[in-house]
C-alpha cells in the first residue's frame, strides 16, 4: 500500500492538494497512479484558466484508460507543470513531487476544509483496494 503524506489534503477522486500561502498545489495520489498504470498523457488547463472545486480540470491518460482530473479547490490556475508534456511518466515515479500538475490561487481558502485529511484518505483507499 502506498504511503499517504500527512501534510496533504485529499479528494475522494484521488487528487491531493498542498497549501502554499494563498495557493494550492495539486496532483494525483500514489494510489491513483498505481490504479491507472503507466501515464502517457496529461491534459492540463492553461495559466489563467478558472477551475471549480470537484469539477474536472483536465485528463490523465494511461495506456489502458482515460480518467478525469477533479479540482480539489476553486480558483485561478497560476502555474502548470509543463514538464509533464514531455515526461508524463513523472506522475507515476513521483506523484507527490515532480509529478504535480497545477497550482491554483484559491478563491476561497475555506475549500481546503472540505477536503479529507491523510487518515481519512488512507481509510478510503484501504476500502478500495482489492
Amino acid at each position: 500500500m502506498s504511503k499517504v503524506p500527512a501534510e496533504l489534503k485529499y479528494t475522494k477522486e484521488h487528487e491531493w492538494a498542498k497549501v502554499e500561502g494563498d495557493r494550492a498545489r495539486i496532483g494525483i495520489t500514489a494510489f491513483a497512479q498505481e490504479q491507472l498504470g503507466d501515464v502517457v498523457f496529461v491534459e492540463l488547463p492553461k495559466v489563467g484558466a478558472k477551475v471549480a472545486a470537484m469539477k474536472t480540470f483536465g485528463v490523465v491518460e494511461s495506456v489502458k484508460a482515460v480518467s478525469d482530473l477533479f479540482a480539489p479547490v476553486s480558483g485561478e490556475v497560476v502555474e502548470v507543470n509543463a514538464d509533464l508534456a514531455k515526461k508524463p511518466e513523472t506522475v507515476n515515479s513521483d506523484p507527490y513531487g515532480q509529478g504535480w500538475m497545477i497550482v491554483v490561487k484559491l478563491s476561497s481558502p475555506k475549500d481546503m476544509d472540505a477536503l479529507m485529511g491523510a487518515a481519512d484518505y488512507e481509510k478510503l483507499i484501504a476500502g478500495a483496494g482489492h
Partner: protein
C-alpha cells in the same frame, strides 16, 4: 473499474493462480480472468522488444478436424488456401460469413495430411465452434481441445536460445510459420514459430496439466536473459505496433477482409468458400474504406470508437489506439474513406471534442523482427 457486462463466472486458464501469486493485476477479458499487467505495460512491452517475454494465452481456443474430408472442410470454411500448407506448416486465415463479414481470424496448423488445428480467439470460442461444426460437415471429426490445451508464447530476441536450452529438438531450424513436435522442459509440445508481437519467438501448445511446470521452467531458464511475464496490456500494444488486427476492435462481422487489408489471405483461385462471392464482388468494385495506421502529432491517445476527421468532415473511425512504447508515439488504426488512405494523408482524431492532428503512416509502425526466412 469492474466489468458489469458479464454475470457468468469468469473462466480461468491453468495458470490463473500463478499470475495472482506473481502480483498480476487481473481483469475480465472475453469472459476470462486474465493478467493485464504484472509490473507495468510499458516496461513489459520493452522487455519483449529487448529481451524476452512469457505470455499465458491459454484462453485461446483450439479445434481439431481430422478425417478424409478435413482438407475440403477447411477449404470451404477458411479464406486462405489450406491445400498450399505442408504438414508442419502454419497459415493465417479467416472464417467469413456468407455476406463477407468476418466470423474470426485464426491460425491454421496442418498436423497431418487429413488433420488440421485451428487456433481461434478466446472471446469467439463458442461462436466459432457452432460455426465450424454447423458449416464444416463431412467425413471428418471435429474436436474442441481448448480446455485440455494450454498455450504459452515466448517472444523476443532471446526467445530462440531460451527455448532451445530446454528443448529436446533443434528449434533453430523451425522456420517462421512452421512447427515441430518436441519436448520443452520435458513437456510434450507443438513448438510453433509464430506470435503476435513482431518479435522472433515461439508459441508452445502443451497439455493444460503441465502448464505450470513449463511456465516456471521458462521463467527460471530465462532469468539471466531478463525474461518477464507479459500481460494482455503489453500484448495489445505489441500487436498494435505491428498493425496486427484484433478481432472485436479492428475486424468483426461488419468488416470485409479487403477493407481490413487482409486480401492476402483470401485466395479465390482455390475454389469456393463461404463469403467468396461478396468478397470478390467488392474486390472488383473497389473498397470504399480501408484500415490504415496513423500516428499522432502529439501525445493525446486515439482510442477505439473516436471519430477520424478530414478538414472537419467525417473521414472514418479509430479501431485501435495507444501510446506505442517502442515507437514512443501515440499511434492508432482506423477505417478511413479509400481516398484518404494514402501514406502521408493528414487527418484529425476527435478527442474529447477537439481535433488532434494525425497522419497516415507506413506500417508496421515498428519494424518486424520475426524470422521470415
Amino acid at each position: 473499474m469492474t466489468d458489469t457486462t458479464t454475470t457468468s463466472p469468469l473462466k480461468r486458464t491453468p495458470l490463473r493462480d500463478v499470475h495472482v501469486k506473481a502480483g498480476a493485476k487481473m481483469v475480465p477479458f472475453g469472459g476470462w480472468d486474465m493478467p493485464v499487467q504484472y509490473t507495468g505495460i510499458i516496461e513489459e512491452h520493452r522487455a519483449v522488444r529487448r529481451a524476452a517475454g512469457l505470455f499465458d494465452i491459454s484462453h485461446m481456443g483450439e479445434f481439431e478436424v481430422q478425417g478424409r474430408d478435413a482438407l475440403a472442410i477447411v477449404q470451404r470454411l477458411c479464406t486462405n488456401d489450406a491445400a498450399a500448407l505442408q504438414v508442419g506448416q502454419v497459415q493465417y486465415s479467416l472464417l467469413c460469413y456468407p455476406e463477407g463479414g468476418i466470423v474470426d481470424d485464426l491460425t491454421l496448423y496442418r498436423l497431418g495430411d487429413d488433420h488440421f488445428m485451428l487456433t481461434v480467439n478466446a472471446s469467439n470460442i463458442d461462436k466459432d465452434w457452432r460455426w465450424v461444426t454447423e458449416h464444416g460437415r463431412g467425413d471428418a471429426r471435429w474436436k474442441n481441445v481448448s480446455e485440455e490445451t494450454a498455450l504459452l508464447a515466448v517472444q523476443g530476441p532471446k526467445a530462440e536460445a531460451l527455448v532451445q536450452r530446454l528443448a529436446d529438438a533443434d528449434v533453430t531450424r523451425v522456420l517462421y510459420y512452421h512447427f515441430i513436435r518436441g519436448k520443452v522442459a520435458g513437456v510434450p509440445a507443438i513448438i510453433s514459430r509464430t506470435g503476435y508481437t513482431g518479435e522472433d519467438g515461439f508459441e508452445l501448445y502443451i497439455p493444460a496439466a503441465r502448464a505450470e511446470r513449463l511456465w516456471y521452467a521458462l521463467m527460471d531458464a530465462g532469468k539471466a536473459d531478463g525474461i518477464r511475464p507479459i500481460g494482455l496490456g503489453a500484448r495489445d500494444t505489441l500487436r498494435l505496433e505491428m498493425k496486427f488486427a484484433l478481432y472485436g476492435n479492428d475486424i468483426d462481422q461488419t468488416t470485409n477482409p479487403l477493407e481490413a487489408g487482409l486480401g492476402w489471405v483470401v485466395k479465390p483461385a482455390k475454389g469456393d468458400f463461404i463469403g467468396k462471392a461478396p468478397i470478390e464482388a467488392l474486390r472488383a468494385a473497389g473498397v470504399k474504406r480501408k484500415l490504415v495506421g496513423f500516428e499522432m502529432a502529439e501525445r493525446a491517445v486515439p482510442r477505439h470508437g473516436y471519430r477520424l476527421l478530414k478538414s472537419g468532415a467525417e473521414a472514418g473511425v479509430v479501431t485501435s489506439g495507444s501510446f506505442g512504447p517502442a515507437v514512443e508515439k501515440s499511434i492508432g488504426m482506423g477505417y478511413v474513406r479509400a481516398d484518404l488512405a494514402a501514406v502521408g494523408t493528414a487527418l484529425d482524431v476527435e478527442i474529447r471534442g477537439q481535433a488532434h492532428p494525425a497522419r497516415v503512416v507506413k506500417t508496421p509502425f515498428y519494424p518486424s523482427k520475426a524470422k521470415k526466412s
